[in-house]
């Protein structure tokens, strides 16, 4: 992956610098999805400054995001996340231009021009609104304290960072292979120092607690991410001390988590709210497509941990049990066939079970030579999903089972 980034970057360097400079004068487009918001707190910096160059590069990445096929345009979801951001952003609320991206990795970022991305992989992993608020507060701190500009100045000038960022934007969203490259690219620009990360944690803690959120949200989330790294099927991910696989742009270290833990332990103010129920209500309509994308990563250890958290409060169990079944079906390890059967069966006892649970049960019954059960499951599937894309295929299977012509 690194060699790919390097080769892309080298080739793009010749072409990218001049266009980025020309881009600086172009104001960032306003996001039509956002609700009415206050005016930005910051004026655009002069073009002939390093900060101006960084804004220009951020503008280019933002233009790419607006056109991306991965942009989640659902108005209710966007309004909800924007609202959470503004609860903690204070005077920077007007600076946040939010883009929710359907990408199955844990990531959020806020560029110097206010262009803010929140990825679906983060929304799937945050357990409640307080955890989302903590991450957004953390990002707002990077923004308010100009951490990107500090990092830029360590990159020997704006052209290098602008080039890297623009190249990253070019590959962003090119399927999840592109997402991974983009994450690595962002990390090279926004991979803040341990000191800046700790500062963002501490200030993020203050902002979210002041907004009335649970003081333990941040440390709980960070510990969850570390646990997920350890649960990965990918040995390369497990080896990385920086936990880079989870939150590449913000490497997590043990001492950083401990510092946040101490801060939460010392907090004596009013107990904050998690707002877990309303958070879950906001993301519930997206669980199915987000979990499908999650499954495409084929990191079954991590996905099972995500599902464990999603099912911890006994909600959406039809969906959660179905995807547990999916993990075991795809993994095909020892005992996985039995586990898949158990989870699909459990899913069908809940009202929110996807119709596909019956199709999978039919396939399992077919493999076990239980023809009558298979036929019944396929029939139930077609009854529950009359417009299914695979209707003709399932009907052919049914015809075979019933002795007709496939």
């Amino acid at each position: 992956m690194r060699s790919m980034i390097a080769s892309i970057g080298m080739a793009a360097a010749l072409a990218a610098v001049a266009p980025v400079q020309a881009q600086e004068a172009t104001p960032a487009p306003q996001m039509e999805l956002a609700s009415v918001q206050p005016a930005p707190s910051r004026a655009r910096p002069p073009e002939n400054t390093d900060e101006g160059g960084l804004w220009g590069a951020s503008d280019r990445a933002e233009i790419q995001a607006r056109a991306s096929g991965e942009l989640e345009r659902d108005p209710a979801l966007n309004a909800y996340i924007r609202d959470v951001a503004c609860r903690t952003a204070g005077r920077y609320c007007g600076d946040v231009r939010l883009y929710v991206m359907n990408r199955p990795f844990f990531n959020a970022s806020m560029a110097p021009n206010g262009y803010t991305e929140v990825w679906s992989g983060l929304l799937l992993r945050a357990e409640d609104e307080a955890q989302l608020a903590f991450v957004l507060s953390h990002e707002i701190t990077h923004y308010s304290e100009n951490h990107s500009l500090d990092m830029l100045r360590t990159l020997r000038g704006r052209s290098a960072a602008a080039m890297i960022l623009s190249v990253g934007a070019a590959v962003a969203g090119a399927g999840y292979a592109g997402d991974l490259i983009y994450l690595g690219t962002l990390a090279s620009v926004y991979g803040f120092s341990r000191e800046k990360e700790t500062e963002a944690d501490m200030n993020g803690f203050d902002l979210s607690v002041a907004a009335g959120y649970d003081a333990r949200a941040g440390v709980t989330l960070w510990n969850n991410l570390i646990a997920e790294t350890r649960a990965s099927d990918n040995p390369d991910v497990r080896r990385r001390e920086s936990r880079a696989s989870i939150f590449t742009t913000h490497p997590l270290s043990r001492d950083r988590v401990e510092a946040l833990q101490r801060r939460a332990d010392a907090y004596t103010g009013a107990p904050g709210e998690t707002h877990r129920e309303r958070y879950r209500a906001a993301i519930r309509p997206f669980l199915d497509p987000w979990l499908r994308s999650e499954l495409r990563r084929r990191d079954f250890g991590q996905t099972l941990l995500v599902l464990e958290r999603l099912g911890a409060h006994g909600e959406d169990l039809g969906m959660v049990e179905f995807y547990r079944g999916e993990v075991h079906r795809l993994r095909r390890g020892e005992g996985d066939a039995e586990r898949a059967l158990a989870h699909y069966t459990a899913a069908t006892t809940h009202a929110d079970a996807p119709a596909a649970a019956w199709r999978e049960l039919g396939d399992i019954a077919l493999r076990q030579n239980r023809s009558a059960d298979a036929a019944q499951c396929f029939a139930t599937y077609l009854e529950r999903a009359p417009n299914a894309g695979d209707r003709a295929l399932v009907e052919a299977r049914l015809a075979q089972l019933q002795g007709g012509t496939p």
Binding site: A11, V167, G175, G178, L393
Partner: protein, 193 residues
Amino acid sequence: MITATRRAVLMGATAALAAGCGTSGARSGTYNAANAYNVNLAREWSDITFMLQPRPRNLRLLSIDGPLLNRLYLAALQPGESLLRHRDRDTPRPTYRTDMSDTEVVEFIVDCVAQEYQAPEASALRPQNFGAYPGVRFDLSARTAEGLNTSGTALAARVGERLHVMLFLAPSEHYYAALLPEVEAIFASATPT
């Protein structure tokens, strides 16, 4: 297949041309795919398999107008192989297994497409022979990184241990429909060797 991003594909092409190894032609007439099956090409296609880096085994990539405008993947995968390859061994990826159901074969192909395209979805899954072998046919919709709508269609079948796959992808506007009759004829001509 789909490991290379669009930019990387273009760069790969540039690098290959600079090195004096441009596209090779897949001449009209009988074309053998991965030593597994023949198809009949009504005209010459460009074999641009070299653009896939790293190059997957048992797969050829053909195009008429270039990879951004039309792609025809012809593969005959062995168990454990995929339509894509990562540079490292550790990154999990979809792989073909001989015990896959037809639905799982479609899922496998769509999940491979998801490496490069956004939000791929299969539709109209139906039984269709691949030569004399029973197979599965389906259509695809997806988007490029820039949000361009892309259409596709595929035919796959298990032949012995191998999975034979023909997959056509092109922008929904003009290019897909323009080449579809020719692709249908190619699909219909497939004959396992």
